[in-house]
Structures are given as structure tokens and as C-alpha cells.
Symmetry: C2
Subunit: 351 residues, 2 copies
């Protein structure tokens, strides 16, 4: 957030408004300040791009399978032995997991504090054998295989009674937190429902109680009618810059068909989702010159997949600037790029 | 968060546990994963230090007063004209404010979305005339004058009926979001209570309803009894690494005397707070080699200063690593440094 002069290269291009808007998210109640009078556009951000460097030995490259823990899933369309070459997609436990699959939770109180052992799963989905490719370079059917792997691994872990939530996410590029550049996503299975998901569930429950409708379905209909913030769409998915975007060029991929649970998405819709995700990633890459990004898959908690009031979705956030004390202290975000302009830039990007 | 090898210099030293703990914050309900078996200590982080470079013309240096908007408050113990030299502390509107003080909110709905104009105040508190100094270099009485200025400016803005909350925070160093290195803090007055503060207020209200005690008072007593996480204390303040620290070497400065509202702190306690804050900053600087940091002052909303259930405090977070998709997606943090070890390192730092 700029204090005085906004400077390029510091990612503090933010707060130059002589006029701004406060927008409140209908689901979470989060407020965002949108700079409407002096917006930052694609050329105004300076950031570390996520170009593949290809140096060093990569544990995710074919031939180096022994560098990872033994695989928990792989696709080998032409055959081959586990933990050897021949795979096209491979899922392995994280070598340095945040959580351990063994043992029980041992929940306990320490005075007024609550704690448990860090039980859960932490896996890596290696999306391609090609070290030079990003997820956006894969064909849609290959992206669909990755999405299918998300479902398969989630389904297996949901059988574990200790676990309450499976989170899929991707860090692409060093600036977005990726420590290995070979294209991959991550899965973390948790013994608790994370607070941001709980916030969404609570917000959706309130919306449903009042209106008897899913909040995300309402958002979808309004976005598709207004079309101001829509970037692209397929028959089953809409890609748009949320009205209450926290970050410049943030995107949401929302299924047009109401479902709380990503695991209930049938194969044909996964193909369609792959096309939507691919186009979103390619438009971001083209408009913003290969930014780092994170995406997160928000779905219903385990055993709540049939909720009428919740709607699974992807959140996709390019890493164009850092967040600072103001954001940490408030949960309030300052976004220098109105999502209407972000959507326009992304619609106009050549892909 | 590390995927495979934790690497220095990438700030992904995080997830190397063979054993970890899940800890739940008593106020917010936030869960944090603490790496207990392979913790990262001071030498394990590589980050951009916040050393003063002193290049270029600084709008916060004496003689350059015309480079900022006209001051709204200044201390000139030896006299002098407003907006000229002779000041020791100066408060000016942010030249590129996130919010504007003029006009009314014009709250309205756009379909299911809520918005208003971005009305509020955004000010900069220049803490010293000396460009080379950090806040930690100031004497305690000078830091107390800064704290007093926070109170004065907050009090003035609280008279504005449109505003609901005044947030004080500081970004120190480029990595923490500061675009100018001359030591300063910021004030943002908002027409809504930010969601993180609302979370704290709600959590405290629940705790109070159940136990008839302030949650922060409970935390204070437990920390002072256990002493495991206490870094230093003064007669009126405790500085400790929170049991549920989100970030390595995160600190909380908690007043021993229960008050919801920072503005009710009397002058003698401000002097004491200045000593506590100074020692905390100096210990962080010494142990971690001058990290960038943010601090945030959480106090009660305007007109809720007498709440029995809330307790104002500082949150102080050195910028040692970035957060990634997992944190954004979940509100779940992975902290590679148990706060018990962080407190030990900070207690042992030479200052």
C-alpha cells in the first residue's frame, strides 16, 4: 500500500485513489477497497515472472522417481512399474509433510489452549512429465486427468475417519510459494475444517436461511446477466473477476450447475472444467506476462457434500503484489484494479 | 511451504516435520500447524533485511515538508510554523489515500452486492526527523510520543459519525510493504469494523458469555504463569510469542491491565508501553538481523471502548517468509518455529 509516491518495482502501486469504493462480499462479509479513479492495469505491476529455469536435478522429472516417497497414485497408460518411468501423472506424499498420516489426534487442552497432534495427509500431484511445461501448456484432456486425480485422491482420503477436510491448491512460481518449478499441485487432508471454508459455509447458510437460495448461485446469475466481470465461459463453468476481488486480476471459476462437492462432478464436466481452467490460466499468462499464481479449490467438508446452501469453486490469484500490515490486521484488502477492468484486460488478452 | 527439499533463500523452510502440532486460537478459532520436530530457528531464514539506504529525496525529512499534504498534527517543542521545519513528530494525510474524508457513504445495493463510497481517513505518522533511525532506535520517551499521537489522531477521527473503526499499523521495510523507508506508521479510519477485528470481538464475546472472563486476560495469566513464551515484560505490559503464532517470531504485546480501548491508556502506561515495544523491536532486530516487520494495533471499535470482554493489544510480525495458496485458501497457517523456541531466541538476543 503506497504511503506517498506509488513506485513501480515495489508492488506498492496500490493506493492512489482520489475516489474509491468499498465493496462487501455477500458470502464472507469481507470488505475490499477498490480504487476506481486511478486504477492499476496490467503494465503497472512489476513482479517476478514464473518462467521455468530448468536448472538442477528435479525430483519430479521421469527417471528421478526414487527422489520422492513411493507414489500413492500414478497413470501409466503404456504400462510400467510403480515408482519407475512410464507415468503421465504421478501423486506422491510430500517429502516434508506439514502433517503426518500415522497415529491418532490426541486432542487435549493445555489450560485454555486447544491442541492436537498434526495428523493428516500432504500429497503432491505431478501434473506432467515435461519440466518445461506449465499447467497452462497442457492440453485440456491432460488438465482433466489432473482434476480427476484430485477427485481420486480426495475420495480415498475421505475414508479416513480422523479427517474432516481435503484442500487442493497450487502454488505456481517462487513468488507464489512454489519451491519446485516442475508443474504440480498439492493436497492437504486436515482433521479440522479450515476457518476460511467455515466462514464461507456460515455465510452461505445465512444467505440460504434468509432467501432459500445458494449465495454462489445468486452471484453466478448476477455475473452472467451483467457480464461486466465475466472473462470467459464454457457450457458448465463461468470464469469471472469477483465483484469483491481482494487481489488485482483475481478470478473465480464457478460451476453453473449447483453442487456443494467437487467430488460429485462427472467426467464430462471435468473435461469442461479443464477447458475453463486452461483458458483462465492462459489469459492470465498472456495479459500479465507469466505471473506466479495460487489457486485453491473450495469444496464442502467431508460428509457435507449434499448441502443445498454451498457451491464448490476455484479461486485463482496471480501474485502481483505483497500484502502488508493493513491486510493482516483487518482482513480488509485494498485492490488497485477494479475487477471490471481486470475482466476487460483478460477478455482482450490474445491466447 | 516446502514441497520437497526445504531450501534456504526461498523462504520455504517450512514443512519439514516428522511430527507437528495443531493449535487452535482461543479467540479467533484459527488453527495453526506448528512444526515441533524440525523447527526453523533464527539462522534458517533468508530474507531481505530492512536496512536504511538513505538514497533519493525523502518527503518525510525536515525541509521537505512541502512534499506532503499539509500536516494535521505536529509537535514543535521549540516552536516554528506549521509545514516547516522544527517538528519532532509530524502527522500528514497520506498523499495517495486509500479512502477519502470528503462526502457521505452513499451505501447501496447492486443486485445482491453491497457497496459504498470509500469514505475514511488515511494518515501517516512520521515518528522521527532522523532518516537513518528506525523506531527501535528512538528513546522510549520518543516512542511514547508516537503512541500519544496515535491516541490524539484516533480521538479526533472518532468524532466523525461516519466512521466505525480506527486502525493503527506500521509497515517497516520493503518486504513488509513500506514504500518509504523514513520511519513512520499509518492510521486508517474506516466506516466499517474490519472482519479480523469482528472475529476477535465475536470470539471474546463467546468466551465471556461462557466464562464471564476476558479471553485475553485468561491468555495473559496463563502466559505469565507458564513463562515459556514470555520474551520480556514491564510493570504494565507482557511481550510474548503467542501459543498459536501464525508466523515465526510473531509477538503479542498485551496490557496487564484490562482495557478494551487503547485510547483509555493513561500517559504513564504509554511510557511503559514504549519501553515494552522498544525492547520487543530491539530483540527482534538483534536476533533476526533487522527483519522487515508489520505491527497492528487492535482496539475496540468506536463507541465500544468500555466492553468487558475485549482487550486491546499489539500484534507484531517479522516478515521472514511469504504466505502461499494454502494460507489464503484456509486461514490455516504453517509455522516452522514453535513460539516456545522463538521466545527463547528473543530472550537470549543481546540488546
Amino acid at each position: 500500500m503506497a504511503l506517498t509516491e506509488p513506485r513501480k518495482g515495489q508492488n506498492h502501486i496500490t493506493s492512489v485513489p482520489s475516489e474509491s469504493e468499498l465493496r462487501r462480499d455477500v458470502v464472507t462479509g469481507r470488505w475490499v477497497i477498490i480504487n476506481t479513479s486511478h486504477p492499476s492495469r496490467v503494465g503497472d505491476f512489476e513482479f517476478e515472472s514464473a518462467d521455468v529455469k530448468g536448472t538442477g536435478t528435479c525430483p519430479f522429472c521421469p527417471g528421478n522417481e526414487a527422489m520422492t516417497p513411493p507414489e500413492v497414485y500414478a497413470e501409466r497408460p503404456s504400462g510400467g512399474q510403480p515408482n519407475g518411468p512410464g507415468w503421465t501423472l504421478r501423486v506422491v506424499p510430500n517429502k516434508f509433510p506439514a502433517l503426518q498420516i500415522e497415529g491418532d489426534l490426541q486432542r487435549r487442552g493445555i489450560g485454555i489452549f486447544d491442541m492436537s497432534r498434526g495428523v493428516g495427509a500432504h500429497e503432491v500431484i505431478v501434473e506432467s512429465t515435461n519440466h518445461q511445461w506449465q499447467l497452462a501448456d497442457l492440453d485440456a484432456p491432460d488438465i482433466a486427468r489432473t482434476l480427476h486425480a484430485y477427485q481420486l485422491r480426495s475420495r480415498e482420503l475421505r475414508g479416513d475417519q480422523r479427517l474432516k477436510y481435503v484442500l487442493i491448491f497450487k502454488n505456481h512460481g517462487v513468488a507464489a510459494g512454489a519451491s519446485l518449478e516442475h508443474t504440480h499441485s498439492q493436497l492437504i487432508a486436515l482433521p479440522v475444517v479450515p476457518i476460511r471454508v467455515a466462514d464461507e459455509l456460515n455465510g452461505c447458510a445465512q444467505h440460504f436461511e434468509y432467501r432459500d437460495r445458494c449465495a454462489y448461485c445468486d452471484v453466478l446469475h448476477q455475473e452472467l446477466e451483467a457480464r461486466e466481470r465475466v472473462v470467459c465461459e464454457t457450457s458448465a463453468f463461468a470464469v469471472f473477476a469477483p465483484y469483491v476481488s481482494r487481489f488485482p486480476y483475481e478470478l473465480c471459476i464457478l460451476p453453473k450447475f449447483h453442487r456443494a462437492d467437487f467430488l460429485l462432478v462427472p467426467d464430462d464436466e471435468l473435461q469442461d472444467l479443464a477447458r475453463a481452467l486452461r483458458e483462465a490460466l492462459r489469459r492470465l499468462r498472456s495479459a500479465l506476462k507469466n505471473p506466479a499464481y495460487n489457486f485453491i479449490l473450495h469444496t464442502a467438508p467431508i460428509e457435507e457434500g449434499n448441502r443445498e446452501d454451498y457451491h464448490w469453486h476455484f479461486e485463482l490469484m496471480p501474485t502481483l503484489r505483497q500484502v502488508a500490515g493493513f491486510e493482516w490486521g483487518t482482513g480488509f484488502y485494498i485492490n488497485p484494479t477494479p475487477p471490471e477492468l481486470a475482466a476487460e484486460d483478460l477478455r482482450n488478452a490474445s491466447i
